[in-house]
């Protein structure tokens, strides 16, 4: 394809109007040339001989008549060994290496290879000469940290390909040819370990898409037991500022039972990313014995970085997630916050003078959000193994009011809703997921009947609490009061979880099953109290003991002792029943 050239005829914020010469395509990348810098831009609208292009950089200094060089390529990322442990910006520039090059500040027009070109990787061939393969099938493998990284037939190659040549095992850089493939028209394709893929197009080189029905254990009790997430499922976390969205995602990124975590810090605080990137290398993942960083990729386009690259950042993140899914791995993508990306769309739409929808968001907001979450899923790969991409996005609704376009559009497409409540975060009841409003369509790690029972207690308890505010404790029956105390008890010892306690911060699925059953049994016993004060005192004591229990490792001897102690405490008030 011949590459087109263009001339700037308009500049409005980060939006350029460009008159172009030869054919160009929607979402094609072009560079606006400014002296010795080239500013990356993307075509977002074409009208006759004019293209509107959003620039991923500050546009100061651009002039009418300035040249634009089109590339013929869509916005793409590099895929290959060496992505794990890295910290990229939204356009996949490695931030630490940029800092080595440019110092303290990001410099516009500075782009670097995402995958280092000089690193050598130990390639072991799997496919044999003469084998016929299709896109996504394995040619060979490379050890990348704790995983066996599959080198696959490039996703963009169509049809059935025959392996003409494949190298013997050896060390190669990502751009060296490791195989030659012949397509059905007889054309030979040289394949290296690195391939490129346009971020806005889902990778579909698998054989089947399945229903997400296996729990993804996050080790957050309120999530796994009450509002579970499934491998390959999608969920959202809307909440007002300061309610705990980011902390919830940080905890999840540490403890979730998945192979790879892709963190997309999209339009939020740089400081929060710094915490992750400084701490993760120090935290040992008990499952692998290696640092958490080894299973993590961070895409970081924080709030003061160029707005247009925010949108790119979530697509970059999901593309990397899909890539590792193709290796039969379970990948979790955490995006914080999807509202910032929606706002970036709104800014661009405003500059394009499109007809605005609600709160000035563009009319296509819903379909864009839907097709993003649609990229989550569990798939059977062509070799029969399974991989998944799970997507969890935080939402930052204006005024903390969920009745706004981004939250509503997201709720339509996700499988679980973890709504954070200001009342709970103000009361320091963390995680502040509202236990009455939230929902999930996925299966829980514990028995459904038990969960339904507990839900009933929580609902009734909350109603009684409301009543008591009006009629006082005096006007409440002891039976009602007991239901209220039980609901507070479940809240304190099971829903709330101490993110700063070494044991309580993560509860395995087995432990959740065990503890939840034990609590249900305790609460099912008939109990009798002389008066409300006695009841309250009893539950305070029971809460204290259960919290101690939560802080003890399951394999420690005290674990059984404390459970015994709980049973005895309950026995005392149920014996004289």
């Amino acid at each position: 394809m011949s590459k087109s050239n263009g001339t700037i005829v308009g500049v409005n914020g980060n939006m350029l109007t460009v008159q172009f010469s030869d054919a160009i395509s929607q979402n094609e990348v072009g560079y606006a040339v400014l002296d010795d810098r080239r500013l990356m831009s993307e075509v977002v609208r074409i009208k006759g001989q004019f293209a509107d292009m959003q620039v991923f950089e500050d546009t100061a200094g651009l002039r009418i008549g300035g040249p634009v060089e089109f590339t013929g390529d869509l916005l793409s990322v590099e895929l290959g060994p060496g992505l794990l442990t890295q910290i990229f910006d939204g356009l996949q520039n490695p931030l630490p290496r940029l800092a080595e090059e440019c110092g303290f500040f990001l410099q516009r027009g500075m782009y670097m290879d995402a995958l280092p070109r000089d690193t050598k990787w130990a390639f072991t061939p799997v496919a044999e000469v003469g084998a016929t393969l299709t896109a996504g099938e394995t040619l060979g493998t490379v050890p990348e940290g704790i995983y066996e990284h599959r080198i696959m037939v490039p996703f963009a190659l169509p049809g059935v390909l025959t392996v003409e040549e494949i190298t013997v095992a050896g060390e190669f850089t990502v751009t060296e040819t490791v195989a030659k493939l012949k397509d059905d028209r007889g054309e030979i394709h040289e394949v290296a370990m690195m391939q490129r893929w346009p971020v806005k197009i889902p990778i579909t080189a698998y054989s089947d898409r399945l229903r997400p029905d296996e729990p993804l254990v996050t080790k957050i009790r309120l999530v796994d037991t009450f509002f579970p997430v499934a491998r390959g499922g999608t969920y959202c976390i809307p909440g007002p500022f300061g309610a705990g969205k980011t902390v919830l995602q940080q905890i999840t990124s540490r403890h979730a039972e998945v192979d790879i975590v892709v963190i997309a810090a999209c339009g939020e605080r740089a400081g929060e990313v710094v915490e992750t990137l400084r701490e993760f290398p120090e935290i040992i993942d008990p499952k692998t014995g290696k640092s958490l960083m080894e299973r993590t990729v961070i895409i970081c386009n924080t709030s003061s970085m160029p707005v247009a690259a925010r949108e790119a950042s979530v697509y970059t993140a999901v593309t990397l997630a899909e890539y590792y899914r193709q290796m039969g791995l379970d990948v979790l993508l955490l995006a914080d916050s999807t509202s910032r990306w929606a706002q970036a769309l709104r800014e661009a739409s405003g500059r394009l003078e499109e007809i605005p929808g609600e709160e000035a968001f563009p009319a296509y907001l819903e379909s864009v959000i839907a097709s993003f979450y649609e990229r989550g899923g569990v798939v059977t790969l062509k070799d029969g193994s399974r991989g998944s991409v799970t997507i969890g996005g935080s939402v930052s609704p204006a005024g903390g009011n969920f009745d706004e376009p981004v939250t509503q559009a997201t709720l339509k497409v996700v499988g679980a809703f973890h709504g954070l409540s200001r009342a709970r975060s103000d009361a320091r009841r963390y995680p502040a997921i509202d236990p009455l409003d939230s929902w999930s369509k996925y299966p829980s790690v514990v028995d459904d009947d038990l969960v339904e029972n507990a839900r009933q207690i929580l609902r009734n308890g909350s109603e009684i609490d409301q009543m008591m505010k009006v009629v006082g404790e005096e006007g409440t029956t002891i039976d009602d009061f007991l239901v209220y105390l039980k609901s507070e008890y479940i809240d304190s010892v099971f829903l709330q979880q101490d993110a700063f306690d070494a044991v309580d911060e993560a509860t395995s699925a087995d432990r959740q099953k065990h503890v939840f059953q034990a609590i249900a049994d305790l609460l099912n016993r008939p109990m009798q109290f002389e008066n409300k004060d006695a009841a309250r005192r009893f539950f305070h004591q029971l809460t204290q003991t259960t919290k101690d229990w939560n802080r003890v490792r399951m394999d420690a001897p005290e674990f059984a002792d404390l459970q015994k102690q709980l049973e005895n405490q309950v026995a005392e008030v149920s014996n004289h029943a």
């Binding site: 005829v9 651009l62 008549g65 440019c102 605080r269 400081g271 709030s303 405003g350 006082g472």
Partner: protein
């Protein structure tokens, strides 16, 4: 010699349009008219039509005004000569000192590479117990004071600035009342801090476009000092005026508003300023304290709401006090573990009890019966408000912690505080043990 254009085609709001070639986006121009001379900045280019935002406003600009382009974008001078000086938003002197033209730096520069930031670890001492004990301020934090108009937020800012031991103080005033401007100047002068202060001040009577320049000028200068290794404290007051200036300009430019008239990029605009707060890996730091007045005392108003989503917590100033609820320093846990062993315990326990006091107050107002426990809480609440929340209290963190123990011991038994026994043994005032019983029942509803 640069070409002079003398044919203004349109004038709307503060924006003028001319036809010109070879003009760069964001380039500055000088506009001369009968009303005087003003800087203007290119905000839109379309073919040969150039839109310029005139800093001093378009009032009185004639269609034959002279427009001359300068070939660079907005800059401000940077050197130690800035210290003790007062400028307007555009960097021109407001005091009687000379204009500075040496070492010009671009304002509104690029963002810091996140991998060059470090996790902040230094507490900023303010002498205010509601901050030091309960919501510790941390070097490099960005934190607004949410307040209703009329609250003493400027006094609070000035006081923190004087106690904070910063190397350099930079004040950015937006829509400042002239009295408040004089207040800052005099307070800093009296305490001898003016010599390490730089002020960029836009007052309510100055042109609105200059208001927009204040944070960028202030932060650009702050950044340079921080790169020299200095610990810089930036005070921005009032950011709601800054947001309102953006709103006004967006509306006159016929941009589609997103929420109550504010432009859709309000979040990004505020964030690009607040995110200048930084602890550099291998240089100094910038801490940003801002005042954000809440129209109608409504925290869901777009300005405080967007701000809360950007900053690292907020202080609520209400009735002359920093409210313990709603106020939050998100960075406090990075420092309050290393101050004194009892810091976190006192913080948690006193707040918990104060929350209980609040619900007792509610019960009392509903006319419900008050128990003995309620009586203790009522006594405690009064002491807490007087001894900790009152802004006239000015004591060190350690004194405040000691005082906290004293209040607790005057009102409660040790076990009623929920503080772990190890700390009780170490810190509970001995002479007050059991004092609670001797107290008469304070309140009986």
């Amino acid at each position: 010699m640069r070409k002079v254009y003398q044919e203004v085609e349109n004038i709307a709001g503060n924006v003028i349009n001319i036809r010109a070639r070879d003009v760069a986006y964001k380039e500055l121009a000088v506009v001369e008219s009968s009303m005087g001379t003003s800087l203007a900045q290119v905000i839109r280019l379309q073919h040969d039509e150039v839109s310029l935002q005139v800093f001093a406003g378009a009032r009185g600009i004639a269609t034959d005004a002279r427009v001359r382009f300068l070939g660079h974008s907005m800059r401000t001078a940077f050197s130690d000569n800035l210290m003790g000086r007062i400028f307007n938003g555009g960097g021109l002197p407001r005091d009687n000192g000379p204009a500075l033209t040496d070492n010009l730096i671009e304002i509104g520069g690029p963002s810091v590479n996140p991998s060059k930031r470090i996790i902040p670890t230094n507490m900023v001492r303010t002498g205010i117990p509601m901050i030091d004990v309960f919501n510790t301020l941390v070097e490099s934090q960005k934190l607004p004071i949410f307040s209703v108009a009329g609250e003493p937020y400027n006094e609070l800012l000035a006081r923190i600035a004087l106690q904070a031991e910063a190397d350099v103080i930079i004040l950015g005033g937006m829509g400042l009342k002239h009295d408040d401007y004089l207040f800052f100047r005099d307070t800093l002068e009296e305490s001898g801090a003016l010599s390490r202060t730089v002020m960029f001040v836009h007052t309510a009577s100055d042109p609105i476009v200059e208001c927009l320049l204040v944070p960028d000028s202030a932060l650009a200068v702050a950044e340079q000092f921080a790169l020299e290794g200095k610990r810089v404290l930036v005070l921005l007051t009032d950011m709601t005026n800054f947001a309102d200036a953006m709103k006004e300009i967006a509306i006159t430019m016929e941009q589609i508003p997103s929420n109550r008239g504010y432009p859709g990029d309000l979040y990004s605009q505020l964030a690009s300023r607040y995110e200048k707060a930084v602890d550099f890996d291998g240089a100094g730091s910038i801490t940003i304290l801002a005042a954000t007045t809440m129209p109608g005392d409504d925290v869901t108003h777009p300005v405080p709401d967007n701000t809360g989503y950007i900053t690292e917590g907020q202080f609520y100033l209400r009735n002359g006090r920093i409210e313990p609820f709603g106020s939050l320093s998100r960075l406090k846990q990075m420092v309050n573990g290393d101050t004194r062993d009892d810091h976190r315990a006192i913080m948690n326990s006193m707040l918990q009890l104060y929350a209980d006091y609040k619900s007792t107050l509610e019960k009392q107002s509903m006319g419900f019966r008050m128990s003995e426990w309620d009586g203790k809480l009522l006594e405690y609440g009064a002491k807490f408000e007087k001894g900790m929340m009152d802004l006239s209290v000015n004591i060190s963190l350690e004194e405040a912690l000691d005082y906290g123990w004293q209040i607790l011991s005057e009102c409660f038994e040790p076990m009623e505080t929920g503080i772990q026994s190890k700390l009780i043994d170490q810190f509970w005032p001995k002479d007050n043990a059991g004092a609670a019983e001797e107290k008469p029942e304070l309140v009986e509803a």
